[in-house]
């Protein structure tokens, strides 16, 4: 599992960890029930403070992506994949909404946006 | 008890680098002694010098502690200031005793080599006790001084003290000679002096230890 931390980024480190683990769960790279590294060993491997990894895990737990069994460890939660998809879909919708409203103000046509979308999708 | 042993082990191991010079010191004295003719004077001198030498040598542990500033670190270990002071006294006393014993043994050997007969144990022992008394006075003044002013400043005092001590020692061994030479005349005093000295040695160390404890407990590190 790769987790890449940038110290110069404006995004707080715990947030970087949280987002990356979340992405791995959503993309199914981390499977349901799979055990995550302990906060202490993750902190050591990333050379960051324990409290940082701890807050990342706490946030993930709050959002229901992981579950902590006291004395055992942290596992990927049995969160409904449908539900995750739903959440992601809502997020995408929100962003497109913003894009469309900017486009409307600047008189950018639907086709232009579609083109843009096609090109962006082809990338990667 | 383990703590005291541990601290004494530390002092002993610190002085490891002195081992060679110590052996050279003993061998040198042995040969100086062997080349002399006045056998009784030589035995006395050997005992006195080795007792004195070993006593001074043990004081050097303070210098090691000071140069590595070990005191502060040692006090972070699970022990008390009293135990630290006690271990120093125990080390100095043991070292002095060992010096005296080595001196006695060597003077036995020398006497045997030269005269082919055993020397008078009591004579040599009383000289030894005299020497121990001498060095105990030096140590008893020196150690509290070191606790008060540190080993560096204490060194100045040490020179003054050594001069003083050798005068006292010289006097005592001179007295001891006289007794042995005039032999049977004052055999009564000969028997009493060592006992008085033994008590004096004990008292001197005890008072000095108490003073050192007091000084050390107040010292800022």
């Amino acid at each position: 599992m790769n987790i890449i931390i940038s110290n110069s980024s404006n995004i707080p480190i715990y947030e970087q960890i949280k987002e990356q683990i979340k992405n791995k769960i959503v993309s199914n790279e981390l499977k349901k029930g799979e055990m995550l590294p302990s906060i202490r060993s993750l902190a050591k491997d990333l050379r960051i403070s324990v409290i940082t990894t701890k807050s990342a895990y706490e946030e993930l737990e709050k959002e229901g992506y992981v579950e902590t069994v006291p004395g055992k460890g942290t596992y990927v939660a049995n969160k409904n994949t449908e539900l995750i998809r739903e959440e992601q879909l809502q997020k995408v919708e929100g962003l497109i909404d913003t894009a469309v409203s900017i486009a409307k103000i600047s008189k950018i046509s639907k086709d232009e946006i579609r083109n843009m979308l096609d090109i962006l999708y082809e990338e990667d | 008890m383990n703590i005291i042993k541990g601290l004494m082990t530390k002092d002993l191991l610190q002085l490891k680098s002195y081992r060679k010079s110590l052996i050279v010191f003993i061998v040198l004295y042995f040969f100086i002694a062997i080349s002399q003719s006045n056998i009784e004077g030589i035995s006395a001198m050997l005992v006195v010098m080795l007792t004195l030498g070993f006593g001074m040598f043990s004081i050097a542990t303070f210098n090691y502690d000071e140069s590595s500033k070990a005191d502060k670190y040692i006090l972070t270990l699970p022990l008390t200031k009293k135990e630290v002071v006690l271990s120093k006294y125990a080390f100095c006393i043991c070292s002095t005793l060992i010096g005296c014993i080595v001196g006695v043994i060597l003077s036995f050997i020398i006497t045997f080599i030269i005269t082919k007969s055993m020397p008078n144990i009591l004579d040599i022992l009383s000289i030894g006790i005299g020497a121990i008394f001498g060095i105990s006075v030096v140590e008893a003044i020196q150690i509290p001084c070191i606790y008060k002013w540190g080993a560096e400043k204490g060194r100045l005092n040490m020179f003054i003290l050594v001069v003083l001590a050798s005068l006292i020692l010289g006097g005592i061994s001179f007295v001891a000679f006289d007794i042995t030479q005039v032999n049977n005349v004052i055999s009564l005093i000969e028997k009493i002096i060592p006992i008085i000295l033994l008590i004096a040695i004990f008292l001197v160390y005890f008072i000095s230890y108490k003073v050192s404890c007091k000084i050390y407990s107040k010292r800022e590190l």
Partner: protein, 285 residues
């Protein structure tokens, strides 16, 4: 959260220096970094915890116990590394083992030699011949081989090169893998603590200026760069200190996002601990 060290109202007066009302908690399982200039009071605070200084006002509890009454018991469970004081340099690691196994009840000879091997220290060489990094590793090996629950280190990285410093930080993070273990470490090299310390306490001039989690300090605090004119419209209560340079003003603020919204100033830097320290000491209000 349980605290391994609790300092309440610690005061200590020397001629020319004073420790003023220090209150400090070190939570269990965490690394607390004590930062400040040389002579700010870090070492005195550490010496007070260890009961090495004579008398002080206030109360110190270690593992929930009064540090004066239970001194011996507490010290069995603490490992200490001091910047300027250790056993004589004429001792070898083997000698140190012989000494320490008599001084600590829980001394673990096997563990000690495992560390000595791991840190690549020659067993039979006197430490006088070691490099400064090796000397520090020997001190640390000696401090952690009786399985202490708390490690107290005064300036462990001072005078070391970056590689050695990094190795030392690795040792700390290994130590902290056991959640019963905690570390209090002082340093004036703040970049070392920036990454691994969970909490940062900043001492200046004998007083504690702030105690924060690392994330609060580094993710929330900001340094606003602005002109004199912009500075003049900023409310005094919205910033901590300001350092006035000839061409720009550097303003330390507690929450950069809030500040951004309120004043619409765009240039806000993410500070390093060093930046925060410098503005605190040099800046004005």
């Amino acid at each position: 959260m349980e605290n391994v060290i609790e300092i309440k109202n610690l005061c200590k007066k020397y001629s020319g220096f004073e420790l003023k009302d220090i209150n400090l908690n070190v939570p269990k399982g965490m690394i607390m970094g004590l930062i400040g200039e040389n002579g700010a009071g870090k070492t005195t605070t550490i010496k007070a915890i260890l009961n090495v200084i004579n008398s002080y006002d206030g109360q110190i509890k270690v593992f929930g116990k009064d540090s004066k009454i239970y001194e011996k018991q507490i010290k069995e469970e603490i490992g200490v590394v001091l910047d300027d004081s250790f056993l004589s340099e004429y001792l070898t690691p083997c000698d140190i083992n012989k000494i320490m196994k008599k001084l600590y009840k829980n001394w673990d000879e096997k563990l000690y030699f495992r560390y000595i091997e791991e840190f690549k220290l020659p067993k039979d060489k006197i430490s006088k011949e070691y490099s400064s990094g090796m000397k520090m590793k020997l001190k640390i090996a000696t401090a952690i081989s009786h399985n202490p629950k708390l490690l107290i280190l005064d300036e462990p990285t001072a005078g070391l090169d970056p590689i050695a410093r990094n190795e030392i930080l690795d040792i700390f993070q290994d130590f902290i893998q056991d959640e019963e273990h905690s570390i209090l470490v002082s340093s004036h090299i703040t970049s070392d603590l920036e990454h691994i310390a969970d909490y940062i306490t900043f001492i200046n001039n004998g007083e504690i200026v702030l105690t924060k989690t690392r994330d609060e300090l580094l993710e929330n605090y900001g340094i606003v760069k602005c002109s004199k004119e912009e500075f003049e419209r900023i409310d005094k209560k919205d910033y901590i200190k300001c350092r006035k340079n000839r061409y720009e003003y550097d303003i330390l603020v507690e929450n950069k996002e809030d500040f951004k919204i309120k004043y619409d100033i765009q240039i806000i830097d993410k500070p390093s601990i060093e930046d925060i320290m410098v503005i605190y000491v040099k800046g004005e209000k």
